[in-house]
Amino acid sequence: MVWRLLQDDGVAAAAGLAADEALARRAGENGSPPTLRLYTYRPHAVLVGRFQDVEREVHVEAAEELGVELNRRPTGGGAILMGPDQLGVALTLHGRAGSPPPPGMVPPERARERMERFSDGLRRALASLGIEAAFRGKNDLEVDGRKIAGLGIHRDGSGGLLFHASLLIDLDVALMARVLRTPFVEITDAELDAVARRTTTVRELAGEGLSLADVRAHVARGFAASFDVALELGTLDSDERKEVAALTREKYETRDWVFQRTNVRDSTGTASIETSGGRIDVSVALAGRMIKAVNVRGDFFESEGALADLEGRLRWTPSEKAAVAKTVHRWARAHSTGTVEADPLARAVVSAAQRARGQGAPYGCFVTPGAREDRW
């Protein structure tokens, strides 16, 4: 089977996103073939997740001063900075239950399995560059606990599917810190270091001399192998160009789309717990009852990679006790080298979340070292 390969560089934010959505819709209507689009945005663009509040996620004035475009993806997740060193990946194909499945897919796949299935092409591409990346619980590809790609899936009403990824070939951490807000603190040098330690890039791991063209070729081959298809370089046809232009103008260039808000309330809370293994400090940002971001610090011993993994696993987990405890215990089973214990760690996360929701904290701010609370 042959899929179409599209390559563009220097794409404007609105037009780039409109093309992805239009191709997904048309794929669902059998109006466009399965298409893998590998592209870069013109420097620079901040793209927030489908339901994020731009003003809460972005330093809008700073972005405008720096000429950074703002827009909203159809896919979910957090805000990202895109430019010539971040490869955008958009795979569009028919995904409705009952339709003929794409090669290599068991029909009709569950949403939960699709993300890992779609990310396999990227994982193979990175492996061919000598980078062993793994899919992390929700929507990241990581290398030793450090994020190298963000992932998202959108299902159009037509039945078309869009798999979105942003692959960090390189990253300007200082620029990112100037335009993206963090939910917890103003960015300091220490925070910049922390961001740098929790992300990694293709060039850092595979060589500074690696070009965008090299990486793009590896990604194309990775997807072709993963789905057992051939890729043929193509272009948009005239109907597709018209639809993309209309969607750019009527949706992605409008303030109604970019600056829309939801009724789900954002909130933040913190908690600290003293344990025999050291003090645990947790900050949590919630979207409604879901954990949007979490930051874990303290004077216990744990590797930066393990903490990044914990924070990644907790993102988009319900903040209720049972869900947090399950996630933290799974993390603890995967990382047994540190001194931090799963039970108090989970209690600290839940306590911070309850403070965020204005419910008070049942465990108190500080607990006597070694004291046992009621079990989870």
């Binding site: 489908r50 159809p74 939960r112 309330r265």
Partner: protein, 146 residues
């Protein structure tokens, strides 16, 4: 999770492709729309929901809202055509209500159908529900976990 039984009330119609339910109101006027428990098993917890404005008219298959779940975003495609007469504001502010109580407090919108007799006949209802649920449950059990 693999062996769970999915609650699928028999008092309503289902859109099998999108796992949405529709139930006629007791008053006989209008229908309610929501997501069924099989669909929620696939989606995971809902983080956000948006719904089109009251008064919006739409044809079958057009989006009446969108959602962000743990693993994906997606349009909510209308199983029937009609006009939105009520939105569930509680769900807009707290989307996890849909996961917790999909058939009562977690409903999404009320619709005044445009062609109920014709379009509801193409949904799954009555005696067709049991074999559909059995097939869908088996499919979910058979697929590998991520």
């Amino acid at each position: 999770m693999r062996d769970r039984t999915y609650e699928i009330p028999r008092d309503r119609h289902y859109d099998g492709a999108h796992h949405l339910w529709i139930r006629k109101n007791d008053s006989g006027s209008g229908v309610r729309l929501g997501i069924d428990s099989l669909g929620l098993e696939s989606l995971g917890e809902l983080a956000y929901v948006s719904l089109r404005e009251v008064g919006t008219s739409f044809a079958r298959g057009e989006p009446v809202g969108s959602l962000e779940a743990a693993k994906m975003t997606g349009a909510i495609a209308a199983p029937i055509g009609g006009t939105i007469v009520l939105r569930n504001d509680d769900v807009l502010a707290d989307p996890m209500l849909v996961n917790e109580d999909p058939y009562e407090r977690g409903w999404l919108i009320e619709i005044e159908p445009a062609r109920w007799e014709a379009e509801s006949a193409e949904l799954i209802s009555g005696g067709a529900i049991d074999p559909w649920v059995a097939a869908e449950t088996e499919r979910l059990r058979a697929e590998p976990l991520a």
